[in-house]
């Protein structure tokens, strides 16, 4: 009888013991979570090459002391050097006592010299990190990444925010910049074409008295804001990314000027409301892209031909000479303007194709097209494709009605 009673209570006892063990373990530790006060929230990272390895400049978000109502972002920059990027990130912890957290890192800037070597030799750290957002933007900058990250923006609280703004949706639709995330770049790099592109960022000094970080989105004292940020050295800077760095096998091989950047975006069919200049009666005019249909296809005849087709619908944006009101009221383009616009765009595309071919960058992913269409043809032509391919450029320009 006693045994039966005992057996009857065994299940509940066992369940209670298991519950007690788990709950005791559960509530007697900190779950390895990191206190936010001890966390270094990395907003952006700049990477440069050194003789012994890498230099990492991390822009860390810090609490804003004074002007809390503005909702802006303050930052400090920490520079570390190591044999690997991981060393550099670990040194942030050693130097500051804060645990570096990459989950909010939205921008990685690569210094020009560092970009000339295989960038995945250091980007692999970010690809391996489970907590690094692969939607993080990548960019190459003129000179050292440290100088760009540490510079003071004339427009935003932090340089990283100002640079990220260059890749807004509106900017991308203008066709003046390209944008690549860590994921996109990795896909290109590990794809059969092994070619990609990144925006090339330059900074220009803003003359004294113009701009400068105001210490918050809502305004506030300029000088106080500059102290608040704790970052930024020298005069306020403005940034531009109209040029594009080309990569082959992960190495920087060429930089596209702004016209070729626009051409690349046009052929990608990404441009809406972007503008470019042509001529009419020997005078400059600006044209707005209303509709952009671009396509690249590979034709394999005796020699491979890359067909670049572009179908643009344009309207007149402005003239460089005075015009009667009837002309201003009309968006239509003259035949001459249409023809000139076609010539201009064709020239941009020809230059773009030439740059890609000369640099060995398969920007139009021709190898990938060949690979996807036929394994046999790919095996036969993959090594000679870029050298032998010729462009066939078809540009169709029409005026908005």
């Amino acid at each position: 009888m006693k045994l039966r009673k005992f057996l009857h209570t065994v299940p509940m006892k066992l369940y209670l013991i298991l519950t007690a063990v788990i709950l005791f373990s559960f509530f007697s530790n900190d779950f390895s979570l990191v206190d936010i006060q001890k966390t270094a929230v990395i907003l952006a990272a700049g990477i440069d090459r050194t003789d012994s390895g890498f230099a990492l400049t991390a822009q860390l978000a810090v609490p804003k002391g004074e002007d809390r109502t503005t909702g802006g972002t303050s930052s400090v920059e920490i520079e570390t050097e190591g044999e690997t990027v991981s060393d550099c990130v670990t040194l942030i912890y050693t130097k500051t006592g804060w645990v570096p957290k990459l989950v909010f890192c939205d921008l990685i800037v690569i210094g020009e010299e560092a970009a000339k070597e295989d960038v995945v030799s250091y980007l692999n750290y970010f690809l391996r990190n489970d907590y690094m957002p692969d939607t993080c933007l990548l960019a190459v900058c003129e000179g050292k990444a440290r100088d760009l990250i540490s510079s003071q923006s004339a427009l935003e609280d932090t340089s990283s925010l100002a640079v990220s703004q260059l890749f807004s949706d509106a900017a991308l639709k203008s066709g003046r910049v390209v944008s690549k995330t860590l994921k996109d770049f990795a896909i290109d790099y590990y794809g059969v074409s092994a070619s990609s592109c990144l925006p090339y960022v330059r900074k220009t000094e803003q003359p004294d008295g113009q701009g400068g970080s105001s210490g918050g989105a809502g305004g506030g004292s300029g000088s106080a804001g500059a102290q608040d940020t704790g970052s930024g050295s020298g005069a306020p800077q403005i940034y531009s990314a109209e040029e594009t760095a080309l990569f082959a096998e992960g190495k920087l091989v060429a930089v596209l000027p702004r016209e070729q950047t626009l051409a690349y975006n046009l052929i990608g069919g990404k441009v809406v409301s972007g503008t470019f200049n042509a001529e009419e009666k020997g005078k400059p005019i600006t044209l707005t892209v209303i509709r952009d249909k671009g396509k690249v296809s590979l034709k394999l005849e005796k020699e491979p031909v890359a067909e670049l087709s572009l179908d643009l619908t344009l309207r007149l944006c402005c003239r460089s000479i005075s015009a009667p009101i009837e002309d201003i009221a009309s968006d239509r383009l003259s035949d001459e303007a249409i023809q000139n616009a076609g010539t201009v765009v064709r020239g941009y595309l020809e230059d773009l194709f030439k740059t890609c071919k000369e640099s060995g960058c398969d920007l139009f992913l021709l190898k990938r097209s060949l690979y996807r269409s036929s394994l046999k043809k790919f095996a036969a032509r993959k090594d000679s494709l870029l050298e032998t391919v010729t462009p066939e450029i078809k540009v169709k320009v029409r005026s908005m009605k």
Binding site: L7, H8, V10, P11, M12, L14, Y15, L18, T19, I22, L23, S25, F26, N29, D30, F31, S32, L33, V34, V99, K101, V103, L127, R128, D130, Y131, T135, K183, A186, I187, Y190, G191, Y371, R372, S373, S374, L375
Partner: protein, 357 residues
Amino acid sequence: MKISTRQLLFFLACVAPVGKLILLPARLADAAQNDLLFPLLAHYLLQAGAVFLALLLARREESFTELLAHAFGRTGAAILSVLFALFLLFASLLPLLEQKLFVQNVFYDTLPAFIVYAPFFLFTAYVASKPLSSYGRVWDILAPLFLVGLAGILILSVGSSDFGAVAPAGAAGGSGFLKGVSSAFSWFFDAALLLPLLGKFRYTKGLAWKGALCYLAGGAAVIFFTAVFYGIFQGTAVNQLFGFTVTSKYFPGIAMLGRVDYLFIFLLALVMAFYNSMALQGSVECMLQAFGRKKYLPTVLSVIVSAGMLTAVTLLDRGFSDVLLGVGKWAFWIFPLFSVVVPALMLPLGRKRREAP
């Protein structure tokens, strides 16, 4: 209380697929690159056949152990049932480790302590102590949750996918296909999950065909998701370990709205919690059939099984990839043995009864 045909079909079409949506796509991408859909299809066809056989066994209206007893006697059937229970425990280990990794990585922004996953075993200890037939109502609830969850994730993901990435077919060759097939066996034992359910549902006309077709329908959803997954990550897919949690974040609206896709991820995570506890419950059921259904035994066994799995998962906390590789290389044959060969060998056992209308 019996499981109805509808509930069983819900399990096959809407619950069974959830276990294949986390690590499996990356694992297949590693083994078969852009040909990853072919090994997946092969597994689904094989497993659908096994599901067909397992459901045919239900015509006998006898439990798993009762069927075995026809050929091996009571004692032999009990031994085989315990062996099968051990297989189910072994089969549940990898999904539990996978789920633990998923919880630690997806729901936290730093790697938390193992203990955050431990309360799951309180859940399994409770669930596994209940009769297996109670799953019928659970599947009724989980099926729409799965459909909403997967549809939401696919809608948010499909626009970011380049389906051309799965071309050209055959790039990985025969060796890639075989590697893909062998590395994915540990995800396919759904027919084995049906065996402890024998005797808990009635065989209705055409159930075997319907079940196999529903399983294939769930498989079609998994194959489509895997194609979307590969189209998004292409050559880097092998590095994306958390399948359905990472595909929807590239939807343009996510940047503005935040990770609203987590609503769908949570739905699938809920379905997965029940799916992963099912093997443990099946194991308890097999042992109950072997030892006799005494009053206290379900709870005792469920607590022992859950505590055992908690210990195993704790010990293997950092060894998941070793276990995965080891199973893929040396022990992959165990899964088809128990989920395909066992139902096939059991087919002649028992006596045939009339089908219910």
